[in-house]
């Protein structure tokens, strides 16, 4: 079993080397762009502010960059820079999602006199 998975891993590595990783990444990049265009183009004006805030929170994903970079950071300054980056990224994520939630919670419908879903 161990040798089998080792073989598979080696095969996967060879396969990965056959296609340039950069090209794969660019392919993913382009597809993600199309997804972004499609998802957003359907949003009503009303929700633009929360939406901007929501997408804003999502680019807080840069936080992960800090988590990755710190693994190979040497020296005080490098570590300091990355800790600041992690803190900034966290503010972006936590603040972004919370603010969006606050905005959206105001859109909540008041309990309707007639329940929307039939109760059975």
């Amino acid at each position: 079993m161990e040798t089998h998975s080792a073989f598979l891993l080696a095969a996967a590595e060879t396969a990965e080397k056959a296609v340039s990783p950069l090209l794969t990444e660019l392919a993913v990049l382009v597809l993600a762009a199309f997804v972004g265009f499609q998802v957003i183009s359907k949003v009503p004006n009303t929700l633009h502010t929360p939406l901007m805030s929501g997408t804003n929170a999502i680019h807080g994903i840069v936080l992960l960059g800090g988590l990755l970079a710190i693994a190979h950071a040497d020296g005080f300054l490098n570590k300091l820079i990355i800790v600041i980056a992690i803190a900034f990224g966290t503010i972006n994520v936590v603040g972004g999602f919370l603010v969006t939630d606050r905005m959206l919670s105001m859109f909540k419908r008041k309990p309707d006199p007639v329940p929307e879903e039939p109760e059975s």
Partner: protein, 472 residues
């Protein structure tokens, strides 16, 4: 393969990212409807949680780094939660700008740290080098640009356009400097000074690019910078070989661009003209020409008169604008609407797409005051209604009601879709003074014979009308 090895495997981590992406995309899709938006935002937030946990499984991380990570996460959370919790609804736009800025700053810092880790050698691996330089430039522009946008909306910096002599040339020079320094590094110059030059030139560019833009255009700027930060995150993802950054960053880059375009269109502005110069810069010349023609008489009225007018109306349309936000008048407006509804008068709210400082700004404020969602009408739905509306109550809105946008071809806002309040039987404009709106132009609506002005703070004016109404 042991359990630990399984979870720390790069394939498992990437599989977890795939789950996170699905949650982001579904979350964004749900954000497109008011009934599912809350859920969508939560879903995206959980997606972020999954992505963070998956990244922490990275086998390269060991004990000592977890302490530093914890410090970063704790500081970020300790700053992020209270600022998001305590911000007033009127200050949402600048809060978004600020959160966007720190995101850009994080990208710039990561790029700088990576440069240092590589010993300044970006030339031997351009797959990493090019995106790093890109991330540094865009991240730094986004950080500083967002801070200026925050300063303008918060009133720390003058909201009116600041003219910078030969601004375009200076900005191009700064961009050129940043790119030239980047190219030098990519060609093999292992000089940290050059990298800092990139960051600084981009920082000055971020400042100078946003300073000349007027306050009214700030939403477009923030949205642009939001897209920029997304792009820079995607670039950092390519440099770090991390799919989560690439996908999430690019989705934001794409969506931010769409959003920017839609906002600019609603204001009848192109993104280019917003970014290249302020509204106010060109306005005074037009104002001089327009003032003479429109300069009729302005009729001012009293709260008691407005109350009487409203009491005999069948349909009243409230047109809120930034003035309502500034005066925090939304609750007072809701009270007035309740009083009117008690008299069987139909109340609707006309929401211009760019009323306030951001699309949806008015919806958020009115929703805070418990205004039923279905009374908020978008421009295309409400415009045909003005013809059978007895009273339009314009509260702190100006440019979005300016008939010049329809009729006066040389007006800077000509062609911008507006709310046709002048079609209703009478118009009450609540305003602090005769000062012009953010576009800096005259509004002939105020001189219309159907229009009466009620000067004063919107909140106390509305409250006064409500109490007068109660005495009728």
């Amino acid at each position: 393969m042991t359990a630990t090895a399984f979870f720390q495997d790069v394939n498992f981590i990437n599989a977890a990212y795939l789950v996170a992406f699905s949650m982001f995309i579904l979350g964004l899709a749900q954000l497109t409807s008011p009934t599912t938006a809350v859920r969508g935002n939560k879903l995206a937030a959980w997606g972020m949680f999954v992505a963070v946990v998956a990244t922490l499984l990275n086998p390269d991380l060991d004990g000592s780094e977890f302490l530093l990570i914890a410090i970063g996460l704790i500081i970020g959370t300790a700053v992020g939660i209270p600022s998001a919790r305590n911000v007033k609804m009127t200050q949402m736009p600048q809060m978004v700008a600020l959160f966007n800025g720190v995101g850009g700053g994080a990208v710039a810092f990561i790029a700088w740290a990576e440069f240092r880790e590589l010993g300044g050698d970006l030339s031997s691996n351009l797959d990493v080098g090019v995106p790093l330089v890109f991330a540094a430039i865009i991240g730094s522009i986004s950080f500083w640009g967002s801070n200026i946008a925050f300063g303008k909306l918060q009133g720390l910096i003058s909201g009116s356009p600041v003219k910078i002599p030969a601004g375009l040339f200076v900005n191009m020079g700064l961009l050129g400097t940043a790119i030239a320094a980047g190219v030098a590094i990519l060609l093999g110059a292992k000089n940290e000074g050059l990298f800092i030059l990139i960051l600084v030139a981009a920082a000055i560019l971020g400042n100078l690019a946003v300073l000349p833009i007027g306050g009214a255009d700030m939403p477009v700027v923030i949205s642009t910078l939001n897209a920029f930060t997304g792009l820079s995150a995607a670039a950092a993802g390519i440099a770090l070989d991390n799919y989560a950054l690439i996908v999430a960053g690019m989705i934001v880059g794409a969506s931010g661009t769409i959003l920017t375009d839609q906002m600019a269109k609603a204001m009848n502005r192109s993104i280019g003209s917003v970014l290249l110069g302020g509204f106010g810069g060109e306005a005074p010349a037009v104002e001089g020409g327009g003032g003479g023609e429109t300069g009729g008489t302005v009729r001012s009225t009293s709260a008691a008169d407005v109350a009487i007018l409203l009491a005999y109306a069948r349909q009243v349309v409230v047109v809120p604008g930034y003035g309502m936000a500034v005066a925090q008048a939304q609750h007072a407006v809701r009270e007035l609407a309740k009083a009117l509804e008690k008299k069987n008068i139909e109340v609707k709210y006309a929401i211009h797409p760019v009323a306030g400082r951001m699309p949806g700004h008015m919806n958020v404020l009115l929703a805070e005051a418990d205004v039923p969602y279905d009374q908020l009408k978008e421009m295309d739905d409400i415009n045909p209604e003005f013809g059978r509306t007895d009273v339009s109550l314009v509260i702190g809105a100006n440019d979005v009601t300016n008939p010049d946008a329809r009729m006066k071809a040389d007006s800077p806002i000509y062609g911008m879709p507006i709310l046709n309040v002048d079609e209703s039987s009478s118009v009450i404009v609540l305003k602090r003074s005769m000062a012009s709106g953010f576009a800096g132009i005259e509004n002939p609506l105020f001189y219309n014979s159907k229009t009466q002005m009620l000067f004063g703070d919107a909140k106390s004016s509305v409250a006064e009308i409500t109490s007068e109404l109660g005495q009728l």
